[in-house]
Symmetry: C2
Subunit: 333 residues, 2 copies
């Protein structure tokens, strides 16, 4: 049995879903991979809880869910006020996991790599703005820096591009990478106004209270940037073209519908060129996904057209991507 | 630069497509992976051509395409009458590649592994009948034994199951794994009789002269067996249920069509249970693929439903899977 120490940053919905998977499937991971995970720290925005011998995750889940914040934990566990950079330096761990939405997390990702720790992240901005620096640092140190859950949640489009198709050259990727906009467009297709569709999406928890990241195409843009980095080499979000769905009217959708088409927020990725914009797609096409399903159509020189469709959001679904990367990192460290 | 010696068995359409990819993309593979492939032997049913310093593949392609068989090669190359078992023992190579359709190839796959050679195969029966023995031997010797191209050509369903989704538990796979039957069923949907559709498929080279392997579901059954081995553990073709499309009438298809459905030869794979049979599927469903496209719908505990669609046949498309495995093996040996 190989014991691997995890340091978990972020204990919101995804962090807790990940913790639940680590608890519920621990016997599976022991049997399948010979891996025993020991979570040595858990951090939310209130505090870092650190126990070098490993903590009881079920208890951590209880504290967070009953008291709302980890700083309220009053028992044997040590509660710290570390900044993330301090935390990744102080806490002895093999794998640092980022399931926060800290836009400046690249600073502590780099600090973790410099401390010889592997990094697994579902947090997009570090990659969308600092891919070359992060991957460069990880490669120089021969450390895993993994990010399956940043694009299409656990649907393994990253793994597919990185670890399969080794002989192919990717020519183009077209993808629907944001479920919130798909939901809103579908409601509008059924006659709702943009405002009503957005309100409904917010009521259902599909859109956030500040929905601009989804609506304006920023979330899809981050993901498209990451896919370009992977398939064609480094770029940043600042270099890509993004237009959101805020200019789309029910009339646009009706007109498309009459022609057997629908509108989706489509990312188009070619070497040196990334755009995200609303586009008409034929109703039977692989990009005409519904609800929170995402889809990517990958064209290569040998295979022609390859389609992958699956969950693009969701708690277990995102945890799937994170835990797959944690296992990959654990087998290498 | 890492030099890797390849011993190629099979120089039919797929073998030659593979050779062409190795020639045309050699600069790509050097730059991307630091790999220099040296093909030390090529075998067809007429002869084994062996040159320990590596041979000129373009010349081999010319000989085969102008003279029809490798035994006709009369120059510096040594032409042998080895059996495959003798060949894998005699010829010094790092990776043995099987793109033959030798039903008894497991004997020389095992011999290759026992000689310390990695094996890459697109040939299905060895895996469909001897998976446990072959994988067991490879694992004991810590040698790559790779078979991406056996299922869905180069569409990386094998890689997806083996190297991504590490945290998920697969619950069920439904898949359309044979393009010939899809083609025939589509023709029948348009009113052709089974016999006419089959004849047309044979004329176009989609069905073989002896089409029974496709029509009776044997080809799809081999592939479904391999998917079960991978997702749930060893089984063999003898233990699965197979029914082909030979009992389907144009009337069956017309009835399905009126209900918004179509008929496809569907493989259903659960733990301990594999069946292949014609099934009605809704027209918009991921399994309602056309022509030589294949599709797999994979259901897991965390991700829910994941769809992968892509080429299930074709020369470059099959070479894609083989060459991806050759690169994977080369990076490990």
């Amino acid at each position: 049995m190989k014991e691997v120490r995890l340091s978990l940053f972020g204990f919101g919905n995804v962090g807790r879903a990940l913790a639940r998977v680590l608890v519920e499937k621990s016997a599976v991971f022991r049997e399948r991979y010979g891996l025993e995970f020991k979570v040595v720290s858990v951090a939310d925005s209130s505090a870092v809880v650190w126990l070098p011998v490993g903590m009881n995750l079920t208890e951590a889940l209880n504290v967070k869910e009953t008291l709302g914040r980890l700083s309220a934990w009053t028992n044997d566990y040590e509660v710290f006020n570390f900044s993330p950079v301090e935390a990744v330096r102080e806490i002895d761990a093999d794998v640092v996991i980022d399931v926060t939405n800290d836009k400046n997390a690249h600073t502590w990702h780099l600090a973790a790599l410099k401390e010889g720790k592997a990094v697994v992240t579902s947090n997009k901005p570090p990659l969308a703005f600092h891919y070359a620096e992060l991957i460069g640092e990880a490669e120089r140190r021969n450390l895993p820096y993994l990010f399956e859950a940043t694009v299409m949640a656990g649907t393994p489009v990253i793994g597919l591009l990185k670890e399969t198709l080794l002989g192919d050259s990717v020519e183009e990727i077209e993808a629907v990478l944001n479920g919130t906009t798909t939901y809103i467009l579908t409601m509008m297709e059924e006659g709702a106004s943009f405002e009503d569709a957005l309100r409904k999406a917010q009521e259902l928890g599909i859109a956030e209270r500040d929905p601009s990241g989804d609506i304006l195409g920023i979330d899809a843009g981050y993901k498209a940037t990451i896919l370009h980095c992977l398939a064609f080499g480094p770029t940043t979000f600042d270099e890509i073209e993004v237009r959101g769905i805020d200019g789309i009217s029910p009339e646009d959708l009706a007109r498309a519908g009459k022609a057997g088409r629908t509108v989706r927020l489509v990312a188009s990725i070619e070497r040196g060129s990334v755009s995200v914009e609303p586009k008409e797609v034929p109703k039977g096409s692989p990009l005409a996904v519904s609800s929170t399903q995402n889809a990517a159509v990958i064209r290569t020189d040998l295979l022609g057209e390859l389609v992958i469709q699956g969950a693009g959001a969701g708690l277990k679904e995102t945890a799937s991507g994170v835990v797959s990367d944690v296992i990959k990192a654990a087998l290498k460290v």
